[in-house]
């Protein structure tokens, strides 16, 4: 399907009196890799939470693949093909790596709330979960509970759960946060592989990752997008320089 994967129109979000997102308009075409950057507290994660319906928008409209999804529940949006990862690892910690991935594919393969199918007999579920597990390089850790994986492994599994269900619009919230350089390289390679042919939107602090991976970049400052463009355009943008990139090397690990 060609066209617009994600369209935001006049999206605003306030918590009490403080406006966090102050009118965002954005269009992400199908198949694009789009990065959101911006200083700490700009509202990047909040924007993701609005798109994925973790929080309801205060005003505005969100369209997913041409359909209005404003006000839907997270699971309804997920069923329409949007999946997201979390900045702070959000796994099923008592379940094994394999079970985590199995849970992530069940709905998309149509098993819903079934209590009449035997899990072990669902070859399609197993095949898809195992394939993702191979892609993540976690096959050796198949039966290890997610809660005791190493940090980098948890981050990989976080991405794995996000993509396992075959969603075609993927939101990744700081996928490389807290990783070493080598780990970051691996993660970028992984993201590149698993989002092939999909629409990707990501929040990322590591400028190397952003400029290497993204087709287009939006700069979010104080709840508003001040610029959207190709990496070259963004690099050359004076306003962006002033607002963000000039201070980007001062060190910023966290988000709002």
């Amino acid at each position: 399907m060609s066209g617009v994967a994600l369209r935001l129109q006049g999206v605003q979000k306030s918590f009490g009196k403080s406006a966090i997102i102050r009118g965002v308009d954005l269009e992400v075409p199908v198949g694009e890799r789009h990065a959101i950057i911006g200083p700490n507290g700009a509202g990047k994660s909040t924007l993701f939470n609005l798109i994925s319906a973790r929080f309801p928008v205060s005003t505005g409209r969100i369209e997913l693949k041409g359909h209005d999804v404003t006000g839907l529940k997270p699971f309804e949006i997920n069923r329409r093909g949007l999946s997201r990862s979390f900045q702070i690892t959000n796994l099923f910690h008592n379940l094994s790596v394999f079970e985590n991935l199995r849970c992530a594919v069940l709905w998309s393969l149509g098993y819903r709330y079934s209590f009449w199918h035997r899990l072990a007999g669902l070859r399609d579920v197993r095949r898809q979960a195992e394939q993702v597990m191979e892609e993540l390089g976690l096959a050796k850790r198949r039966d290890t509970p997610a809660g005791i994986l190493s940090y980098a492994e948890q981050r990989a599994l976080e991405i794995g759960i996000t993509i396992a269900g075959g969603a075609d619009v993927i939101l990744l919230d700081e996928p490389t946060a807290g990783m070493s350089n080598t780990e970051t390289e691996d993660a970028v390679a992984l993201i590149r592989r698993v989002t092939e042919g999909k629409t990707l939107m990501m929040v990322e602090h590591d400028m190397g990752v952003v400029f290497g991976l993204a087709d287009r970049i939006s700069v979010l400052v104080y709840g508003q997008i001040i610029a959207t463009g190709t990496p070259a355009e963004i690099r050359a943008n004076a306003e962006v320089q002033e607002a963000y990139l000039g201070t980007a090397h001062a060190g910023d690990d966290g988000d709002e």
Partner: protein
Amino acid sequence: MIEPLFSRGRILLWLGGLAIAIVLPLVFSKGFAVSLLCQMGIMVVFALSYNMLLGQTGLLSFGHAVYYGLGAFVTMHALNMVGKGGFPITLLPLAGGAAGMAAGILLGYVTTKKAGTTFAMISLGIGEMVAACSLMFPGFFGGEGGVSGNRVTGKGLFGISYGSQTEMYYLIAGWAFVCVAAMFALTQTPLGRMANAVRDNPERAEFVGYDPQWVRYLMMVLSGFFAGIAGGLTALNYEIVTAETLNAHTSGVVLLMAFVGGIGFFYGPIIGAILITIMQIAIGGITKAWLFYFGLFFLFMVLYAPGGIASLLTVQRRLWVARLWWPLLPGYLLVLPAALVSLAGIVALVEMGYGLLEQEGTGEHAVHLVGLSIDAASGAAWAGAAALLAAGLLLVRWTWGRLEVKWNAALSALQNPGGAA
């Protein structure tokens, strides 16, 4: 790796369980023993249905007796209605199951809206509400006296009349086997697995397409069904149902059974149900202080074995498989007598205390303990018992201190099999 539901080991386990259930009343054929077995079978089903909520879905319910009790009352009324014949008694527990399920459909919709503390509180509230109703509507609940019936009036399948307690036992055992198998099978389905996912992280479950509220609700309804069957079996077994079957005490007991057995394991509640039923009836028959011991035992488990008996057994089994168990045996053999000495001290103190309270004003002070007659009014007896307890605790501390080093080493060896010792 393939995951066969019916691996050879598993089939043997199920067949072994079935065989034990069939043989037990032949070995323990006294009336008392058969009644005990009946109660165990019922409680196994009830405790497992409870663990569908607590262990599998992460829902701490304080009102599970509602589904059990309603199942029991409806089964009793059904029994009295079909009494003249027609519907086979063998299938009557299904009426209880239907009632428990219907209660789950109605009440569960309210309780499962939220998880966590809110769920616990709502379940407590609904439990109290239904218990209050049981006194307000004597027409259905029979008031103080309860509702009674006679299971022999109807005909069972194959002409079995359930006149004897042993026949009743086989009815319970049959239903229990079917229910345990069904509840186990449920853990191996998409819904069963997503219940675990919702328990671990309801938010993430939403972002893989599942409505956690609906998962909780379905589990509640199914759990209500099995609790209702257990209630139906109770009704047929005792031929009387009183308001006690659906009150907070019953809800508490099933929680304790599941917890003591181990909520993290499918078979945990089975152990808990069997053990606590034995304690309840066997120890309860000997001493009035039974509830006190039960409380003490529960405290001990929560503090020192929060994973329940099933987790203790699982660790022992893993140590055994890893060939790490034998070196621990001498330590176990030292701790055990020390623990028994402490236990003897506790029992002596508790029994003397209860004895004094019981015989207050009668001038009697004699307490009979394992063939000994102790004067509970004498200071020497109290001092002796206290000394026994103190010595026991010191011994436990000393022996456990020696075992602990080896124990920790064995556990870490278990966790890093490749690591240096």
